[in-house]
């Protein structure tokens, strides 16, 4: 196996044997591997984890007595909801991603008899993982918005939800962008944990290649590290650029 072939395999992974393809789920997802699979899982974790994070953040958000969900004293008491959301966030944050991944791959079948393709499990567990951490970022972003602007919006007659959607979230979004990108880099690096449950992302692909190339395992792993590093470093540079630009704008105001 030449160096270029090794690099190509690490980027694209090994094709899934046809008997292992589950026709009920998208074919392209099951046939992805290597670096592209790691990036795809990261992307999907934002697609599904983003809304989850927003819901969790809005449930928890309780500063200035301005929680947006539930009325005190009713069945949907905002303090109970806030407590529940906090428990979910803190609970998931206290478990290492390695254990979350193992739990996602062993518990559903054992407890519910559920058998799903590995890629679905991987996307599910990383969406929850990402959502839980993102909710903290969103919550901080929301509470960093100056209350004066919100008061102004309310004075103009906007409803609570309009203030949230039209004023608070857009302003918070810009402030959150560097932190969200940093989170994306973290999730991308953490997808390497999926190698222990045989999801064919970058790290697992290196192990697969190693079977036929045992003498080159060190080189393969070095190559893997280099690939992870280039993607993460490019992201970090982007984050610090955005951060600097954001600070400059804040200073200009």
């Amino acid at each position: 196996m030449s160096f270029m072939e090794m690099l190509h395999t690490l980027l694209w992974g090994y094709p899934l044997p046809s008997e292992m393809v589950d026709p009920r789920y998208p074919l392209f997802l099951q046939q992805l591997g290597g670096l592209w699979l790691a990036l795809t899982i990261t992307g999907f974790s934002f697609l599904f984890g983003g809304p989850l994070a927003l819901v969790l953040a809005l449930c928890r958000y309780d500063r200035h007595g301005a929680s947006l969900v539930g009325q005190p004293g009713t069945k949907l008491d905002r303090r109970a909801i806030s407590f529940l959301a906090t428990a979910v966030v803190e609970g998931f944050q206290s478990i290492p991603i390695m254990i979350l991944v193992l739990m996602a791959f062993y518990l559903p079948f054992r407890l519910l008899g559920l058998r799903l393709p590995a890629i679905v499990m991987a996307v599910a567990v990383f969406s929850i993982y990402n959502g839980v951490y993102l909710s903290g970022i969103i919550r901080l972003g929301l509470s960093a918005v100056e209350t004066g602007w919100l008061d102004a919006a309310r004075t103009l007659g906007l409803s609570t939800w309009q203030v949230l959607w039209r004023i608070r979230l857009p302003i918070a979004m810009r402030a959150m962008l560097p932190a969200v990108l940093g989170q994306a880099i973290t999730v991308f690096k953490d997808t390497s944990v999926l190698a222990v449950v045989a999801v064919g992302e970058l790290t697992y692909t290196a192990r697969q290649v190693q079977v036929s190339q045992p003498a080159n395992y060190g080189l393969l792993l070095l190559l893997v590290l280099l690939i992870y590093w280039s993607v993460a470093a490019a992201g970090s540079v982007l984050v610090s650029r955005l951060d600097a630009a954001w600070r400059k704008r804040l200073a200009g105001q």
Partner: protein, 235 residues
């Protein structure tokens, strides 16, 4: 769910307890090593000599952007191979555990260095001048005046990263460690290998990490509340 047979049974519970002890040992050793390394790198980054400053920047840029699991795999599989190619000898036995500690510390120290540096940046510059006026050497000012204040400012971020570091010890599951050096998830996997029951030992391991992380988080938030008050008094 059969915790009585797969967790609280004779050899298995002993394995798991040993795993908990190893998890704690890994956490303590990597915390100490990465704090030490982190301070060293942060000092380099604050140095006046461009060479050392660049070296600090490169260290942080390299290790912060490497995922810990592939880094550990490289240290435990790639490094012995390179060692054998260079010297013709295998790596001495028992090198796995120190390599694990080294890999985790390299990763965490890069984050800590960055946190410490931003803590130092947040200390008012007058503190530097005040220390210099008192006749202290720059090194003494940094160590005895700036760092204590920077630590208080950076404490919440430092604590979060160190808890993360503790959780990272679970990555050892994927590494070829001797049976005695396996942490709690590794021991859970060992039980699963014998009994085919992953669920119960895994839930036990999750509960262990949850307890550790939540109680450490509580300690950190208590400490940083006190530190915050002292920082405000200083200003």
């Amino acid at each position: 769910m059969d915790f009585r047979h797969y967790v609280f049974a004779d050899p298995y519970f002993g394995w798991l307890l040993r795993g908990v002890a190893v998890t704690l040992l890994i956490a303590v050793l990597t915390t100490a090593a990465s704090l030490l390394l982190g301070f060293m790198v942060a000092s380099r980054r604050l140095s006046r000599q461009p060479f050392w400053r660049t070296a600090g920047v490169v260290y942080v840029a390299v290790f912060r952007n490497l995922p810990p699991l592939p880094l550990l795999l490289f240290l435990l599989f790639g490094l012995p191979q390179a060692f054998r190619a260079a010297t013709g000898m295998p790596l001495p036995a028992g090198a796995e555990f120190p390599l694990l500690i080294a890999g985790l510390s390299l990763n965490t120290s890069a984050y800590l260095a960055e946190t410490i540096r931003s803590g130092v940046r947040a200390v008012p510059t007058e503190q530097w001048d005040a220390g210099r006026v008192l006749g202290l050497r720059p090194r003494t000012v940094l160590l005895c005046v700036i760092y204590p204040q920077a630590l208080r400012i950076a404490l919440p971020a430092l604590g979060t990263r160190l808890i993360h570091n503790m959780k990272n010890s679970s990555l050892a599951l994927a590494l070829p460690l001797p049976v005695g050096c396996m942490e709690v998830v590794g021991q859970a996997g060992r039980i699963a290998g014998q009994t085919f029951a992953w669920t119960e030992p895994l839930l036990f391991a999750a509960a262990v990490y949850m307890t550790l992380a939540l109680s450490l988080g509580f300690v950190v938030s208590r400490l940083s509340r006190g530190a915050q008050r002292r920082v405000e008094v200083l200003r």
